[in-house]
Symmetry: C2
Subunit: 134 residues, 2 copies
């Protein structure tokens, strides 16, 4: 994310450390990094399409960041946004065909996490390495 659009203006945050875009892993990292992006893609795939619904599904994320990350997903062509010209406003996101190709991968990530849930939970929550457990 080099720049970030907020409305018609560009927030003047410009990267100081250049992006690495050398290999496929760099590229996918660039579009999937972001605390909530994978979850957003997942829920949109499941039919949770409207911003307010997504916010209710992901209550730990602030409204603001979800908007920003949705916009980045849109910019990266993984989701598309439809604005219905009506009042009260209605917006719906959906996966692009390109975005849909990510679903099997996200699914694999989630499955690996689920299959190893206990082990991961222990490893993540345990106290840091000390002399005893090395």
């Amino acid at each position: 994310m080099q720049f970030r659009t907020l409305g018609y203006f560009c927030v003047m945050y410009e990267r100081k450390i250049p992006l690495n875009l050398n290999c496929g892993l760099d590229l996918i990292g660039e579009v999937l990094y972001g605390k909530w992006k994978i979850r957003l893609l997942w829920f949109i795939n499941e039919g949770v399409l409207r911003p307010s619904e997504l916010q209710r599904k992901i209550p730990d994320a602030s409204r603001r960041v979800l908007n920003i990350q949705l916009k980045e997903l849109e910019q990266h062509e993984l989701v598309s946004k439809i604005i219905y010209p009506q009042m009260p406003p209605k917006v719906e996101y959906s996966l692009t065909d390109f975005g849909k190709t990510l679903i099997p991968i996200i699914s694999a990530l989630g499955n690996w996490g689920d299959e190893n849930e206990d082990r991961l939970r222990k490893a993540i929550l345990k106290q840091p390495l000390s002399d005893n457990d090395e």
Copy 2:
């Protein structure tokens, strides 16, 4: 990463925002987040085992962070570390059996990125969304 071990002491950085460890995606995210971790796993899988070799393979990362992220990977049981008691010191990392189960997933990530390289590169580098390209 709730805490971080540095030697015998614990750096007093304690998370203020609690971890989400609700689903598999949260869990895998917790062990794979970190700018260089996937690359570390990948290179170790390819036989680049020693810290100095890894540093040469990933010159954009500082020596320091690689050490820290390797230690976290070790704590999460994805890699194991062998210290050869000799001078000059020699250390080798290797994937644990658990860590090896991640390789197909990392491979899938990298392939997706490679397959869509041009499109991704354009999407990442293009100017932010303006009125014209929505």
